[in-house]
């Protein structure tokens, strides 16, 4: 065996902005810090000699701005503490992996094959009056103990020991691979335990049972499995049980959406979502634009004559609660694979996001365990980590992120919601064959491409703290590796696809190979996998672990035998690892072998359709809502306070850190107008030399569900449509996606809310003729733990339905942005303003101010689809006739907020009369902040007035001219009591931008 040495290379960067920003952050947290200095550290385990290591030093820094030293610390002259943060064993170390590759490449080009493995860490030197407790706090604020190691030395020890320790966090697994047979002839109690906590591995020292981790199989399912194997006359193996658990999981089979729910016999997916789409497609007839719905990794619609666009929105909530960066980056990079895994592989062309967080300024602490153990991350840390994760994933992959939202509610404190979506583009036909059709055939090789398999992501979010002791990997958390995936994506989409080197492709997501291979095996009707052929990150994994591991950046393909050589050759040339791991068969079962021994053999019929169907029943929730009573406050200060609310204020710091321009297709940007206001919808052109573009938007109204989940869903659908109409999309071109993020879905009251929301999905999708093309659900977003005073606490997210929308727009030049364009332009409100402030931002604000607690109210906004449809088609006609200069859908905060945004974006003032707004007679604050649906603020060139009004009148729309844009930089509001309110634009802008600016 070759002796491998271990050395550190430390790199110092002069005037490093990262150090300066870190210092600012620590000072703002209240620490007495004089200076912060950050070094990059590469720990190299290699067979390199001294001179060669010096070559590495040269490779790893730019002498213009950096200094690098081998085997010696580069400490600043003056410091008090040094903190080093590196990864725990088994956590994806992207920088380390890149450096290993650079070093190997460098010596390879010089004719020498070397062995080198690199581990990345950062040293942070701090100068300042800090005691040990403070240092502990600081280091905890910088690292996540689930994935990172922290080492702290004071200056004295640092100098004594000549720097920080040389540490190579390698995974060492002691066990030998073995297959266990599981005895299911046990009692119901033991069966339930196996289903809930996993297979018994051993009895711990204190007599406690150590189990393999939850299978999430209920007793009914366990019994079904028991009978199945009794009939076969044998016991199941651990891999068989794990495999069934993965395939039958809520995540894969959507058991709640498939269950019988009261009178909905075939489940809400079949009867509310899928059926709506079927009815709409029939109604649309020749104008049906759906191509592949609810069948593949993404849904697809036609885009022009020659293309399809695919869309999919996923959630990554639990992982993001534990490791916000890792959870979010694997979320976004993972949903990219839903595009790559669509049909014959679509190219990801747009990313979008939606984050639901608690107030980042909240300082309450939550604990998973009793006595302040298992502290949860703070809302601020979760928010910043999630934002950064999507930043790293999207930006590194070269996929634009032109659209997204952030929504805040204290009930997201236990669990944030992290929505991530990817739109893909694929030619409708590839070499004259339909690109959305794919079929693995018997005899095709099963090929896994991309990353290697490790223990990361086994059993999702259910690891125990033992799993994180030194020498053992963090199994449940993962960090995405966008560059590995980018190489894979380019090689598949841009090269292998056109050469027709594969018959079928799918993503390795939840359940890893156990799901991807078993899913594709349905196409050919069988498979044989040889597990020893799966490339691993380290040795010592159990066969079942290899089979279910969710290690990221992997796809599974079906490659015809005659093309395998060419396929593997292409992958090698593009630096993508590809391995044949078995063969698709046509004999009806899923067989897994390990070194020649069959360890799994289950019929596909049982594997996919064997799970018992659930029967659920819902129960109405008590309803006693009333409208709050309070005095009308000062309008000027209230409008400003409203603009500063978390759900209304500028999210510029997020929008501007996501590259929305890459691929060159940007048409309407996330920030619009000179004043950069966050838009509700964006437009992109995925095919540069076409006139066509794609409008995209999202809508979510969790607070409305507190009054009525039916109208919550209806409003989300209406808004997702309205937002696209506002930029120029034809209502009849719009398609929708649904994401249900529910809580406590075993409680009949929550199921009642679910049923109501699903029924609204059916009613309004059908009414608007906007089909659902894809959807996803996540049913248990609850946190159970303890508060600071050791009281047990359960925090459930408010039932949240995200509706995402997309539509092809035939001529990109017809798109309209939201900003006011010219002084003198007329301001119109389209739609009717009603007394609908129930669960509004305004009531929440007033309640918080007057009673210390949000007012909910009763009059939740409702949707009148027939009226809305007429308005939408009239507005669309006006936009296509180029009569509209600016258009903003009226969303949270109502007309008051919408007109303020119009002015801030255009850097122009406006004068409006509240009395001219049509609708129910109400006091001015209610008129201005009502959240009635299906309304717009439109600004037009006065020369277009007659024509514009004619179009709206012809459709019988409710609309009124309420004022005009003015050159003076003030928003002037003439209230109903004829009092005039004057708000300088600068103050509005400050109010809108200040809340989250310092992040």
């Amino acid at each position: 065996m070759v002796f491998l040495g271990l050395e550190r290379i430390e790199v110092e960067t002069l005037g490093d902005a990262r150090s300066i920003v870190k210092k600012k952050k620590l000072v703002s947290m209240g620490f007495n810090i004089e200076s912060v200095k950050l070094n990059d550290v590469y720990t190299i385990e290699s067979d390199l000699d001294g001179a060669e290591l010096l070559d590495c030093v040269k490779l790893l820094h730019n002498p213009v701005s950096q200094k690098a030293v081998l085997a010696k610390p580069i400490a600043p002259k003056s410091f008090d503490w040094c903190i080093e943060i590196g990864f725990l064993p088994g956590v994806t170390d992207n920088v380390g992996n890149t450096v290993s590759e650079i070093i190997r490449d460098f010596f390879n080009a010089r004719g020498k094959t070397v062995s080198a493995r690199v581990f990345y860490s950062q040293e942070i030197f701090l100068k300042g009056k800090l005691d040990e407790a403070q240092i502990k706090k600081i280091s905890e604020s910088m690292a996540n103990p689930l994935i990172q190691r922290i080492q702290v030395k004071n200056k004295k020890i640092f100098l004594q020991e000549k720097g920080m320790d040389v540490i190579a966090p390698k995974v060492r697994l002691g066990q030998l691979p073995a297959i266990k047979e599981i005895d299911l002839s046990a009692s119901d109690e033991e069966l339930a335990k196996i289903g809930k906590f996993g297979i018994l591995e051993k009895i711990g020292e204190n007599g406690s049972e150590i189990r393999s981790g939850p299978l999430a199989l209920d007793l009914d399912s366990m019994k079904t499995i028991k009978f199945f194997f009794e009939k076969l006359g044998r016991k199941p193996t651990d891999i068989e049980l794990e495999s069934i658990a993965q395939t039958w999981s809520e995540h894969c089979k959507h058991t709640i959406f498939a269950a019988e729910l009261d009178e909905i016999k075939n489940g809400i997916f079949e009867e509310c979502i899928k059926k709506a789409t079927e009815i709409i497609r029939q109604k649309k007839g020749k104008k049906d634009f759906c191509v592949s719905v609810f069948a593949d990794n993404s849904g697809a619609i036609r885009f022009g004559e020659e293309w399809l666009v695919t869309d999919k929105v996923e959630t990554h909530n639990s992982p993001s609660a534990l490791d916000p960066f890792g959870g979010a980056i694997t979320g976004i990079v993972g949903v990219n694979r839903d595009a790559i895994g669509f049909g014959k592989a679509a190219k990801p062309v747009v990313n979008r996001y939606g984050f639901c967080f608690a107030d980042p300024k909240s300082i309450k602490s939550l604990y998973k365990g009793k006595n302040k153990t298992g502290k949860m991350l703070s809302p601020e840390k979760i928010m910043l980590g999630v934002i950064e994760g999507v930043n790293a994933g999207g930006n590194c992959s070269g996929i634009p992120t032109p659209q997204g939202f952030m929504y805040f509610d204290e009930r997201y404190e236990g669990k944030p919601l992290v929505f991530v979506g990817t739109i893909g583009l694929i030619p409708a036909k590839i070499n004259e064959k339909n690109s959305h059709e794919k079929e693995a055939k018997p005899g095709n090789a099963i090929v896994m491409v991309g990353n290697r398999v490790g223990l990361d992501g086994i059993h999702g979010a259910t690891f125990s703290s033992e799993a994180l002791s030194s020498g053992s990997p963090a199994t449940a958390v993962q960090i995405g590796d966008p560059i590995t995936q980018k190489k894979l994506s380019d090689a598949i989409v841009k090269e292998a696809r056109g050469l027709e080197l594969f018959e079928s492709i799918t993503d390795n997501g939840a359940g890893g190979l156990s799901c991807s291979v078993a899913e594709m095996a349905r196409e050919s009707n069988g498979c044989i996998v040889e597990l020893e052929k799966v490339p691993l990150k380290y040795s010592g994994m159990q066969p079942w672990q290899i089979w279910v591991s969710e290690s990221q950046e992997r796809m599974t393909l079906a490659v015809p035998k005659e093309k395998i050589e060419k396929f593997l050759g292409l992958m090698e040339k593009r630096g993508v690892e590809a391995s044949i791991i078995g063969e698709f068969t046509g004999v009806g079962n899923c067989v897994v072998k390990s070194n020649g021994t069959t360890i799994m053999d289950i019929g596909l019929e049982f594997l996919h359709n064997g799970l018992p169907k659930k029967k659920l029943s819902a129960k109405t929730m008590p309803q006693n809502f009333s409208e709050p009573v309070f005095e009308e406050p000062n309008l000027a200060s209230t409008l400003k306070e409203m603009l500063s609310r978390l759900n209304i204020c500028s999210k510029e710091f997020v929008s501007a850190q996501y590259d929305y321009e890459v691929q060159g297709g940007s048409v309407l940007k996330p920030l619009q107008g000179k004043g950069m206001v966050n838009a509700e919808a964006s437009a992109v052109k995925p095919v540069l030399d076409s006139e066509f573009c794609l409008g995209i938007s999202q809508a979510v109204f969790p607070s409305y569900g507190d009054i009525d989940a039916y109208w919550m869903a209806a409003c989300a659908i209406d808004s997702a449509i309205k937002n696209l109409v506002a930029i120029g999309a034809k209502p009849e071109n719009i398609a929708l996606l649904d994401n249900f993020c529910w809580c406590s879905s075993n409680e009949p009251e929550r199921l009642w809310q679910l049923k109501k929301a699903a029924q609204a999905c059916f009613d309004f999708a059908v009414a608007f003729e906007t089909p659902f093309i894809s959807g996803k659900d996540s049913m248990f977003n609850d946190f159970k733990g303890f508060d600071e005073n050791n009281n047990p606490i359960k925090i459930s997210v408010p039932p949240t339905l995200l509706i995402s929308s997309l539509a092809q727009i035939e001529n990109a030049e017809n798109c309209v942005s939201l900003d006011a364009k010219f002084a003198g332009d007329l301001v119109f409100v389209l739609g009717e303003t009603k007394n609908e402030l129930g669960a509004s931002e305004y009531y929440a604000h007033a309640g918080k101010k007057l009673a210390g607690k949000r007012f909910v109210g009763k009059n939740v906004p409702k949707v009148d689809s027939e009226t809305a449809k007429k308005l939408y088609s009239a507005l669309n006609m006006a936009i296509e006739s180029r009569l509209v200069a600016g258009c903003l859908p009226i969303e949270l905060g109502g007309i008051g907020i919408a007109i303020a945004k119009t002015c801030i974006a255009g850097e122009l003032g406006a004068e409006i009369d509240v009395a001219k707004i049509l609708g129910e007679k109400m006091r001015s604050d209610f008129v201005l902040f009502s959240e009635s649906q299906s309304r717009f603020i439109v600004t037009i060139n006065p020369a277009n007035k007659a024509e514009f009004e004619k179009i709206l009148k012809k459709q019988g729309c409710v609309f009124s001219e309420i004022g005009k844009i003015i050159f003076e930089k003030n928003l002037v509001i003439n209230a109903i009591d004829s009092k005039q309110v004057l708000l300088p634009l600068e103050e509005l802008k400050e109010a809108y931008k200040k809340t989250l600016r310092d992040y």
């Binding site: 902005a17 950096q66 890149t98 850190q657 929305y660 321009e661 940007k669 052109k685 942005s817």
Partner: protein
């Protein structure tokens, strides 16, 4: 037809729109994977223009552009030098500029290519910034920017803060190698003011060329401003034009940079 090679691989991600821009400008553009070039460096002889597109080569690990520069230097450096000697054009955009800085293709004083003289460091915000900026041209020498006085282009990077030591900076100024600087809307120097200077670049430097003016690197993305509807203010321009009764143009300002490159070989 002039042929432009647009490099790809290992996380480069702006190759398609860069090739599209060259095609629109009248060149024949071919996207070539770095490994194919390593396998056959003489392929470079077919081309007159070499483009290092934007992207995230090697995920920016060890400093943006460093790893890809190392791969190029180890494998095709001589072919690259030969390409330059033959009076061809090279452009590096964003991550491409970062690669060129690490390769020492710019500033290339006295045609001495290969030595690192400049660095593109972490933005002052220590964060990725995607924004539109105003640039002013200060060079008569640079082939790519002929006829451009000011131009609005987007930036999108985490490491774009231009840095060089004093003597290098002086030389760059003296030899008219500073091409673009970040300016305020009214075209006065940004003087490091955020967000006009989006990264804190020294002397507001946004792009430089070599002594010949044929090798050009910039942090902003000209390929993202070649169509009318790509501009950040096109909906405003559209309203102005409509009210003047004028047609909407199809192209926008960034085209000039690609057209200049193609025109260079027509003389």
């Amino acid at each position: 037809m002039v042929k432009a090679l647009v490099l790809t691989g290992y996380g480069i991600n702006c190759e398609e729109e860069t090739a599209f821009a060259f095609k629109k400008a009248g060149a024949e553009a071919e996207i070539v994977h770095i490994n194919d070039l390593i396998e056959n460096p003489s392929k470079l002889k077919e081309f007159r223009i070499f483009a290092f597109p934007g992207g995230f080569s090697y995920g920016d690990d060890t400093g943006s552009g460093n790893a890809l520069a190392s791969k190029i230097k180890s494998n095709i450096w001589n072919a690259m030098l030969e390409f330059i000697e033959n009076e061809n054009l090279v452009i590096g955009i964003c991550n491409g500029f970062q690669v060129m800085a690490n390769l020492g293709l710019v500033p290339g004083f006295k045609k001495n290519y290969g030595e690192r003289k400049i660095a593109l460091m972490h933005n002052d915000t220590a964060r990725y910034e995607c924004r539109w900026v105003q640039l002013k041209n200060f060079s008569k020498k640079c082939v790519f920017t002929k006829g451009i006085d000011t131009i609005r282009l987007p930036v999108a990077h985490g490491e774009g803060k231009f840095f060089a030591k004093k003597p290098v900076l002086e030389k760059l100024n003296r030899h008219e190698q500073i091409v673009f600087r970040y300016v305020l809307e009214e075209c006065a120097l940004a003087n490091k003011k955020f967000p006009y200077n989006p990264n804190g670049a020294l002397e507001d430097i946004a792009g430089i060329c070599d002594e010949t003016g044929r090798i050009f690197g910039l942090m902003s993305h000209p390929e993202r401003n070649i169509l009318f509807t790509q501009q950040d203010n096109w909906t405003m321009q559209k309203e102005i034009l409509l009210r003047q009764g004028k047609e909407l143009p199809k192209e926008s300002a960034g085209m000039q940079i690609f057209r200049n490159a193609v025109e260079f070989f027509k003389k």
